[in-house]
Assembly symmetry: C2
Homo-oligomer: 225 residues x 2
């Protein structure tokens, strides 16, 4: 609901880039997904996008600027999924959490996400880790915000309870993602059961409610640490 507007901007002022530049970045993204950062050379991008290397340097400064632009472009494309309206019933709350878990699993397992994270992680060994910060800022943080508002809504309506929202979110994240992300980043493939994101998501949310759900018929000892 926060990001209501800004929906028509598909070929327009997407993240301060011109349409032409967005088209180039889209091609670059395609190259990255297809062949990894090794394939993301200025010459190849220029060839794929039918533009000149000179234009690339004029628009993005240097190669690092171009990589940053690719990340920014992708981030501007997805935009935080508009999290609908906040839930009023316990069932709706659980459903929204499960939807969040499903979305998270789907997004992080996507080709584009994996390619961008690989790129940023590969560069993160450098001194500055600029790309890594960008990915965290434009990707992770947005996810955290969406989950945060959702969790807070659930807490205020007594569907769950916690003292530390950050800690609750990190637990939720861990229950959902487990070791899937890093394994996939390393090139591992998920097996059939793991690829059933619906089941995985609902299982994770079940566990989350066991940890943070309201005390019904069980002893009250919810995380004092």
């Amino acid at each position: 609901m926060v990001q209501a507007a800004l929906k028509k901007a598909d070929t327009e002022s997407l993240a301060n880039f011109t349409p032409r530049q967005n088209a180039v970045l889209e091609k670059a993204l395609g190259l990255l997904v297809k062949g990894g950062d090794r394939a993301l050379t200025t010459a190849r991008i220029a060839r794929a996008a039918n533009c000149s290397k000179e234009s690339l340097y004029k628009w993005f400064g240097d190669r690092d600027g171009l990589l940053a632009a690719v990340v920014t472009y992708q981030a501007s494309k997805v935009r935080a999924p508009g999290s609908g309206q906040l839930p009023e019933t316990a069932e709706a709350f659980r459903a929204q959490l499960t939807g969040f878990a499903f979305d998270l699993l789907s997004v992080l397992s996507g080709d584009v996400s994996l390619a961008l994270n690989r790129l940023a992680i590969g560069q993160a060994s450098k001194d500055d880790a600029q790309l890594g910060r960008l990915v965290l800022e434009r990707g992770r943080k947005v996810i955290g915000l969406r989950a945060g508002t959702l969790l807070e809504a659930g807490r205020q309506r007594k569907f769950i309870q916690y003292d530390d929202q950050q800690a609750a979110f990190r637990t939720l994240y861990g229950l959902i993602i487990r070791d899937f992300h890093v394994r996939q980043l390393l090139g591992d493939a998920l097996d059939a059961r793991e690829s059933d994101f619906e089941t995985q998501a609902s299982s994770a949310i079940d566990q989350f409610f066991k940890l943070y759900g309201p005390d019904k018929n069980r002893a009250r000892e919810i995380s004092q640490t």
Copy 2:
């Protein structure tokens, strides 16, 4: 405390490499940790290790073989911590789980681990992802085995209960690591609370027991999914 044995094998037959080769690989590891894969050129390794490039190629074939050797070398150094003896009391079991969690957090947050994972992930976009498979095989799998025997011991003694050991392990892993690993891979720094691995570990194990612990005074509804 767990890794008692295997301490003298420092300059000896570590993973089928000669002592000289191990020394070279150690230098290479140092370069990698210090400067990332960008710094891991054959010329630099040769210079740092006072050996000739010709020897590098003779010993390891090509650059990829050298990188694989670095991974193998590091894996051979740590060796699965011999998981001591299996626990006989619930307290001992919890303590061992907490120790496992602490070790896992410490290892994955270490310079060497982060550098190697960054290297493998950066290369994983290539066609084969050979390094990624190697890291998974020599790193992840060993951890899974240690945890697996520990979990199984606890289950047989009724300290915990589960149907699917794989699923239980992945939950344990998620509760321990949360989003720490990927964040650190991306160059993010853990804040003070997150860096307190003892507290993090014991908190994660608390949560794990809430999900998989024996039914004491609470409703019996342990994960049927």
